[in-house]
């Protein structure tokens, strides 16, 4: 198909045209991420389109190609044009020239068509400003939106901008979601929280750390406690069924089978004595600062 000019002349029932909108002066290509590549200025007509493949060079090229071209809106009814005319052809009528960008035909014995280069309004404002209503609409569409939804079985509210936060009150629970992921849920079973908790103090009966896939660690600059009693075995030969005691009064081991236990001190020990409390098993060796001391005998009684 080649693009050509169609002569309409005065063979048109009605032709209403708007003043020339002027040359295309600005091209905005918007990517999926909302990034806009802008070429040109606001001195004329702006063209805007979504294009995830856009770049500044492409926006510049589009504008360069349109340099000096203008858009002339019109609306023509019952124009006698050749049946060979296509969308995109030029149209001349009584000194007016524009493109055929809309073409509607109701076939009859004569080849008449309604043709147009459409426009939202016949008024092209010469002063560039955004009315308050449009500004509100733009803000709603481009920046943030929100809703409060009340249904028979739930009430929910959300606010969405770059991210989305929402809460929902249902018959059996209440949920808070961040970016569609549940971060807190309250139900008759209690409170479930995904993510971290920051608080001043927690007073609780029992505290269970970890779960499936967790590391089971408590991290603290200072850990103050009355006593710590590990209840499970620590992996490794000879440490089964054992434990240790870290109390305000001292530090002690409580291995059920001491004959297989070795104790290593990473730092030198400065102690007045080593005391063994027991009656059956005696440590054979004590290693202090790399020197092995053999225990010959332990006083009893």
């Amino acid at each position: 198909m080649s693009r050509e000019k169609v002569f309409v002349g005065q063979s048109i029932q009605q032709l209403s045209s708007s003043p020339d909108w002027g040359s295309y002066s600005k091209v905005i290509l918007i990517t999926d991420e909302g990034e806009g590549y802008v070429a040109g200025d606001d001195n004329g007509l702006t063209l805007e389109a979504e294009c995830p493949y856009a770049s500044q060079a492409i926006a510049d090229a589009v504008l360069a190609n349109l340099q000096g071209k203008s858009y002339k809106p019109y609306d023509g009814s019952s124009a006698y044009i050749t049946p060979a005319a296509e969308i995109g052809d030029g149209m001349t009528s009584d000194g007016f020239y524009s493109g055929i960008y809309s073409l509607s035909r109701k076939f009859s014995k004569v080849s008449a068509a309604d043709i147009a280069a459409p426009s939202d309004t016949e008024v092209q404002h010469e002063i560039q400003y955004e009315p308050q209503s449009e500004r509100k609409f733009t803000r709603k569409m481009k920046e943030i939106s929100s809703a409060l939804v009340q249904k028979v079985d739930s009430i929910s509210a959300w606010v969405q901008g770059d991210q989305k936060f929402e809460w929902s009150l249902m018959e059996d629970c209440m949920e808070w979601k961040a970016n569609n992921r549940t971060v807190m849920k309250i139900s008759s079973a209690g409170l479930e929280v995904t993510g971290s908790i920051k608080t001043g103090s927690i007073f609780t009966g029992d505290l269970y750390v970890g779960g499936a896939g967790e590391t089971n660690k408590i991290s603290a600059s200072t850990l103050r406690t009355g006593a710590q009693w590990p209840t499970s075995s620590y992996g490794g030969t000879g440490y089964t069924n054992g434990g240790y005691s870290l109390t305000g009064g001292g530090f002690g081991f409580n291995f059920n089978n001491m004959q297989y236990a070795d104790v290593y001190y990473a730092q030198p020990i400065n102690a007045s004595s080593f005391r063994y409390q027991g009656t059956q098993y005696i440590p054979r060796n004590i290693v202090v600062s790399g020197v092995t001391y053999t225990v010959l005998a332990v006083p009893t009684g």
Binding site: M1, Y53, A84, S111, S119
Partner: protein
């Protein structure tokens, strides 16, 4: 503009013509005595304002009457999604150059020989006015009238881009992508569509073919349509022919002087 024969131009330029249409639905021809209210609507932009990156679907509407298929359910004879072609030709009188020498008698005994034009009725070739596919229908049995609404092949591009394992790592050339989409929707790429910048298109994982076309169109400052001959075509805003001031007849034919066109200043 579609290509037309010299005969078509001659009839059109005479200004004295009649238009005639026919529809070919699923391969069966229906003529004017069988057709009512045939209309076609085409647009370039997605709305009422100038845009780039649009991919508009053209539509048609036509009514078939009982004259076409008496005694049978006319709706049942047309399959779902059937192809509709609408054709038009013009008819008129053109000079019969084979019989332009006539003889006559002015007065008894005085014979004159002159040249007089003789005209003969003729018609042009059929011009395809659009290829559509039945989208919905409304059958009134008591009138035996069937109204068909059709849309063009652009509607088929409203589908996910088919997966492909061999997409080049640095993207595929835009013209190849456009040609591939044309193939997927069973049309060909219009020969007038030139994508000269060779932009590379990454594999379109989450876009429809129609969206991809729109993105390519935007990169060239244009919009896609399906032409009357059923081809995928990019119409760029910059591609509007330049306005000229050559002298033409009332019907748009160039007026020439010694073979040259006359420019009005």
């Amino acid at each position: 503009m579609q290509n037309t024969s010299e005969l078509f131009k001659t009839i059109w330029n005479s200004g004295n013509y009649e238009s005639e249409i026919k529809a070919v639905i699923n391969g069966v021809e229906y003529f004017e005595n069988q057709l009512m209210d045939v209309s076609i609507k085409r647009e370039l932009f997605g709305g009422n304002n100038v845009t780039i990156g649009s991919t508009c679907v053209a539509s048609c509407s036509l009514t078939l009457t009982s004259d076409t298929m008496t005694g049978r359910d006319i709706s049942a004879q047309i399959p779902r999604g059937a192809r509709i072609e609408i054709w038009e030709r013009i008819s008129g009188e053109v000079m019969d150059t084979s019989r332009n020498a006539v003889a006559g008698t002015a007065k008894p005994g005085i014979a004159i020989v002159g040249i007089a034009a003789e005209y003969k009725a003729t018609h042009s070739e059929w011009l395809l006015q659009g290829v559509f596919f039945v989208d919905c229908r409304d059958y009134t049995s008591w009138e035996s009238r069937l109204v068909l609404e059709g849309v063009d092949a652009m509607i088929f591009a409203d589908a996910d881009y088919p997966g492909e394992d061999t997409w080049p790592e640095n993207g595929k050339r835009d013209i190849d992508v456009a040609r591939q989409i044309a193939g997927y929707i069973n049309v060909s790429l219009d020969s007038g569509t030139k994508l000269g910048n060779n932009y590379r298109i990454p594999i379109p994982l989450s876009y429809t073919m129609r969206e991809v076309l729109g993105f390519i169109g935007a990169m060239y400052g244009g919009n896609w349509v399906i032409t009357k001959e059923g081809k995928l075509s990019l119409i760029t805003l910059a591609g509007l022919p330049e306005e000229t001031n050559f002298l033409v007849t009332n019907y748009g034919s160039p007026i020439k002087f010694g073979g040259d066109r006359i420019l009005v200043s």
